[in-house]
Symmetry: C2
């Protein structure tokens, strides 16, 4: 109940920062303009070119790079509480496009308010900056996986990264991991074809290291997977103290 009242983004921030009343108010004001979105709709309606930063309040979304209509790469996966487009300031046009993956709602942030946050509430702004940096790291890790790992290891890495992120967003209810993506979409995240993603999944299932049921997967031995692909949990490595000003 209170879950749906308080913004997931605010919850996330208040877990790392001891927010003052005025900071909290500023954050609530930041999310003032909330809009509902349908599945497969764009996060930013193409009409307005200016504000391309948002907070995802509920649902799932992805950011994608396109070329050629059928060649797609999914660069980011967003879930409730995520900041979308913090690294897109300065760009008007697509691609990359941010697309809703399920129904959900977003808060479109105005640049003015965001800029004001930087000067009025630097602690909060810096933390937003740093939070988006985590995602950039995750992106680089996946890039490395795509560039240098064999297909099965890529997939393992992907699942581990998804789990790490869902854990961080405290969305993990059980030991089953939600995997709300088609095999085509998993392939688009990893530079693989849907057909091959399927083969790997079936192999992993047959070899008994994974169980699937509808849109969930269950990994039997996380530790082994993590060692195998040398997984680094960037959310755990993130250190909020490095975001404050006091160097010494």
């Amino acid at each position: 109940m209170s879950q749906s009242v308080q913004s997931a983004f605010l919850t996330r921030l208040s877990r790392i920062l001891d927010l003052t009343v005025s900071e909290r108010l500023a954050l609530e004001d930041l999310e003032a303009r909330t809009e509902d979105r349908r599945s497969h709709s764009e996060v930013f309606d193409s009409g307005r070119h200016d504000d391309r930063i948002a907070i995802l309040r509920s649902g799932w979304a992805t950011a994608q790079v396109h070329s050629d209509h059928d060649k797609i790469t999914i660069t980011h996966i967003y879930m409730a509480g995520d900041l979308i487009g913090f690294n897109d300031l300065g760009f008007a046009s697509p691609p990359h496009v941010s697309v809703m993956h399920t129904v959900g709602s977003v808060a479109i942030l105005s640049r003015e308010k965001l800029f004001a946050m930087a000067s009025d509430h630097p602690r909060v702004f810096n933390m937003m900056w740093a939070l988006s940096n985590i995602e950039t790291r995750v992106l680089q890790d996946r890039m490395h996986a795509i560039a240098r790992f064999a297909a099965q290891d890529r997939l393992m890495h992907f699942i581990l990264a998804l789990k790490a992120k869902i854990d961080y967003a405290s969305l993990l209810k059980s030991d089953r991991l939600p995997l709300p993506f088609s095999q085509r979409e998993v392939g688009d995240s990893l530079g693989l074809t849907a057909v091959y993603v399927n083969r790997i999944l079936r192999n992993l299932e047959k070899s008994g290291s994974l169980t699937r049921s509808r849109s969930y997967v269950k990994i039997h031995d996380w530790r082994t997977w993590e060692e195998r692909v040398q997984f680094r949990n960037r959310y755990a490595e993130f250190d909020p103290r490095l975001v404050s000003a006091s160097n010494k």
Copy 2:
């Protein structure tokens, strides 16, 4: 001569912003702590964990993700005037590691001064933020190329991106493009082996669309290449007006 006196970073900023005197002073102060670096040394000496943001004043550098000693991915290529590590705030440890590629010098930025810039000179800070966003876009484009392009197209994309960046940094002297990387390193940027990079280069050379001489390449028909890989010049797409506060 004046080239070496004025910071390349300051030059770059003043091309997009009409800097005030105090902004200029703040920027010069930001680069106060300058240090020389040898080739192959790390940009940030491992001792100090705190300040991991820098401006590259001269030379070339790269950021890399490692796993397994021999598996390397080069995520960023830095040249004089580039901001290094803007997206690493919040992280202490490697990887990714930033490594000098040639001799050069860097200015290590203190977080305090950088944070102060955000409140005292928001225009400048926002522009730094946005400039680093360009690199994130470039990164995503390369990720897409690695994930979905065949080897030769990846290489073409890489060369085009390098040219775009060098153009933007106004380092391009002639129609020859400096390519100060070994074929191994090009491979590490593209998820290819050095052997195969070599084969592609020789093929392109044999087919007459490229000429090589030491560490330079000359492309005979940029336009064809750009269309072939659907290249987007993110530096040209960047719009400084979107970084200012006035939404309307």
